[in-house]
Amino acid sequence: MTLKGFLLLGLGVLAGCSGAWNNPYPGDAPDANVLYSGFAERPKHLDPARSYSANEVEFTGQIYEPPLQYHFLKRPYELIPLTAEAVPRPRFFDAAGKPLPDDAPSAAIAESHYEIRIRPGIRYQPHPAFARDETGRYRYHALTEAELADKRRIGDFEHTGTRELVAADYVYQIKRLAHPRLSSPIYGLMSEHIVGLKALGEALQQAAKANPGVAPDVADFPLAGAEVVDRYTYRIRIRGKYPQFIYWLAMPFFAPVPWEAEAFYGQPGMADRNLTLDWQPVGSGPFYLAENDPNRRMVLKKNPYFHGETYPSDGADADRAAGLLADAGKSLPFLDAAVFSLEKETIPYWSKFLQGYYDSSGISSDSFDQAIQFGASGDPQLTGSMREKDIRLLTVGATSLWYVGFNMLDPVVGGLGEDRSKLRQALSIAFDYEEFISIFLNGRGSPAQGPIPPGIFGHVAGAAGINPYVYEVRDGRVQRKSIEVARQLLAEAGYPNGRNAKTGEPLVLYFDTMASGPDAKARLDWIKKQLDKLEVQLVVRGTDYNRFQDKIRKGNAQLFEWGWNADYPDPENFLFLLYGPHKKVGTGGENAANYDNPEFNRLFERMKDMDNGPARQAVIDEMLEIVRRDAPWIFAYYPKSFGLTHGWVHNVKPNLMANNTLKYRRIDPELRAARRAQWNAPVLWPLGLMGLAVIAAIAPAVVAWRRHESGVA
């Protein structure tokens, strides 16, 4: 075959490929009603008792259905029923078991009871665990090794079945939280609250020890704190009053798990084939996991037995203006499937997004300037090239906080004395986080004024909500206090010009961080520069994650950088980070700064049990005043999240609490197919040019070779 023929054949093969040559989904129809997304890190766990991190809940949130969910559109965040008939209200009881009124003082409440009634008729996804033969016996609950020999995936089982969701499935899952084999991340927390959960955990552990190699069945063990009332109703008993428990009922930890799934996956030989409940979920949600290859891609498909739910019809005017109510009342989910491909690096992800092969994308620092520009008023806008592609920008203030913590047990920066507070206040002023946000975050953040981020009850926006120890209102604008104020505070703290007034020794502080490498160097240099303003020396102690955690746990750090992301939209979830009894040292709690102010603690205990309202806001204001004065943290910034979606993606509204929003997403597959074809036409001239270049490189060699061979020695 001649070179020309070979090239023509090659081009023919390429041209024979369906769609564009660079299409990374060769088997998919171009106009399929499928959403395409990616994941950078494969999920570790998909068992609802274990999955907690965002990349896990992204899947379990679509598959499992806890009794409650967050309203998709309403802000502030509002809980609404999912499988429950109504959002349960706790009933309170005293130590003698007598009912108490709703406004009973917290001290009098011995137990809170949550009685949850789920809607009848909800069914699980099709799954072989439910498959029965003609006699009604489960087909796949007593498999032999020979029967399992050719089974590698769930799809290899010929028969599937379903059954109705019942209250006992929820109770079963609550018991699973205590199973030692599962190591549920919330077992420790929940065992403090759910009556009998700790005892159940201990009993299961003893049973496991007594019979090694055989996992005890939680169904054989009673749990006083979770009981079935009737087929569709169950009751959870909580010690004392714990109003935040209601939020946990919207997380997959409290989703139902059918006993059949455990019986199916618990058979010998299943785990060796990676057929476990941790990898092959069984839920009742709008999607089920049809393909699970976390090394490559995971595919969610529409659950044919989904109980039905409609798109919300109540939202704000802004939602209506943004077209977010156009689908009100329509059946969910809109998508037939969602394909998540493993994409570890940001550059390929971004390129594929621009080619239309991913429907949405974040914005990494590499591509920020290509995507975003700031208007005259400082507001972020899309660049012209993004607008040309009809890409939309979504921004949302994350319900998160970053801070620099002071170890309050440290002899130099810790303690509640006035001089120490002034030292910390001086440092708080010196850390210019407006500059940090501009340089390192491309403006994606706002300086923090306290421990409660925007979007959470208790946060006060504007001038009324500023930290008066760090900021002031000048010329009608909120501005950071001048460095002279910081110097004055430092002098009053006993360190004029950064030196100990008694010994003359320079003040040397130590900053512990997990950041390392060239990327972190600029940030760490910036931090040093902030303290240079006060002539305070800073020694950066970079370390790995393990050593950093160890230092914090043992109280060996002095200054450190940390953050917190809300579990639920309640101020308790942030203020508990400063609650004395939750100190890291000694108790292993989440109070990494080891801050322990009795007045703050007293107010916290009062605030955590209150309903949102003016009275609670007043208590929170008092707490904020204390914590701003004591300054155990330098309140760094509240991050902002920027995201992009293509014009064919609809019903996208960032919801930082809900994890089941895929069912609301709608796409226009025809528009996407047209745009992909338009954007990805192959450019062939480089192939010809490369061919010519190769010929140009080889020809002189061939000529020289022939001349050499024909020459006379």
């Binding site: 570790k44 420790g188 390129s351």
Partner: protein, 325 residues
């Protein structure tokens, strides 16, 4: 020959035990079982009890190397080292900390790794040898100098640059191939072409220069002069005699890496979304999954030993003077 191979395989046992012990020691110098538990359990709400439960469940609640509370041999066998290492000699790798079977993962991921590494190796070898022979053919001419300069230029560029440039031009700008991804079966070809192309081009600089050095050394030997004196064409001298005699140093470098092709490439797999063993290893290191790390190090050491044995066998194949005893 058989006795030699058997003896070499037996030598491998103490080497593998040593590698295993070294991996174990290095890993646990940096990470404690408590650290591993914390990483697996997440950053929030982790209690000391939860850590103890995780360690018990995963068999990390025992002493590392010596159990003083046990009696007799159990002092050595009832330890983390023994319990997590002994079965590997039967290629039973157990489960990772995420609960997935490591053997199944290795079997699944070997294919994609090989799909990239094998063509890169074979095509790279052919291209590098051909290019090196051409440079030798035109030695001391402008073409040779130009070739060497090109090699140095190619060597001086970071491997990452080739990947990013390949993705940018071929996949993004010219839309000729997918930027990243993988597919099963025959559909995988369009995902393989670009990483293979990048792998081959990025290896030309160092490979061709190395082979050029080998061939230049050979070309000055007496047998080459004799071949030319016999009137053989230069092409036959080079491609028949010089190439064959230059095979021993080539085989030293090439055959030893042959089994290691199974292990994949860390960066290439990561950038091109190839679900191979390279990315599996790097993920395990980042996740502090000791079970996977030790399995991959064990497998790597074993394959390296196999590679060395294959190299020795190949010596005797290309050079009849070499006898394995």
């Amino acid at each position: 020959m058989h006795a030699y191979i058997l003896r070499r395989l037996l030598y491998a046992i103490p080497i593998l035990i040593g590698v295993n012990l070294l991996t174990f020691t290095l890993f646990f110098v940096v990470n404690t079982p408590d650290d591993m538990a914390r990483l697996q359990l997440g950053a929030k709400h982790v209690t000391p009890e939860a850590i103890e439960r995780w360690k018990t469940e995963h068999g990390y609640d025992r002493p590392l190397l010596l159990n003083r509370d046990a009696a007799g041999m159990a002092q050595l066998t009832d330890t983390i080292f023994f319990r997590h290492s002994a079965a590997m000699f039967a290629f039973e790798f157990g489960k990772g900390d995420d609960g997935r079977d490591i053997g199944t993962e290795i079997r699944t991921r070997m294919g994609p790794s090989l799909a990239i590494a094998l063509p890169v190796f074979v095509i790279g070898l052919l291209v590098n040898i051909s290019f090196a022979l051409l440079m030798v053919f035109f030695r001391a001419s402008y073409l040779d100098v130009g070739g060497v300069v090109l090699c140095v230029v190619l060597m001086s560029i970071s491997g990452l640059f080739y990947i990013i440039a390949g993705q940018y031009f071929i996949a993004k700008l010219w839309n000729l191939l997918p930027i990243s991804g993988f597919a099963d079966g025959i559909a995988a070809w369009k995902f393989i072409v670009l990483p293979v192309l990048v792998g081959v081009v990025s290896g030309i600089g160092s490979g061709a220069r190395w082979y050029r050095t080998i061939f230049l050394e050979e070309i000055g030997k007496d047998y080459v002069r004799t071949a030319r004196a016999k009137g053989l064409p230069e092409a036959r001298v080079l491609f028949h005699h010089v190439l064959k005699n230059g095979m021993i140093p080539i085989l030293t470098g090439a055959v030893v890496v042959l089994p290691l092709l199974f292990m994949g490439s860390l960066i290439t797999e990561s950038f091109f979304g190839i679900p191979g063993l390279g990315s599996y290893t790097i993920d395990a290191i980042q996740a502090q999954d000791f079970a996977v790390v030790r399995a991959m190090v064990f497998l790597g050491a074993f394959l390296y030993i196999v590679g060395l044995i294959l190299t020795d066998i190949s010596y005797s194949w290309v050079d009849p003077r070499v006898r394995l005893q």
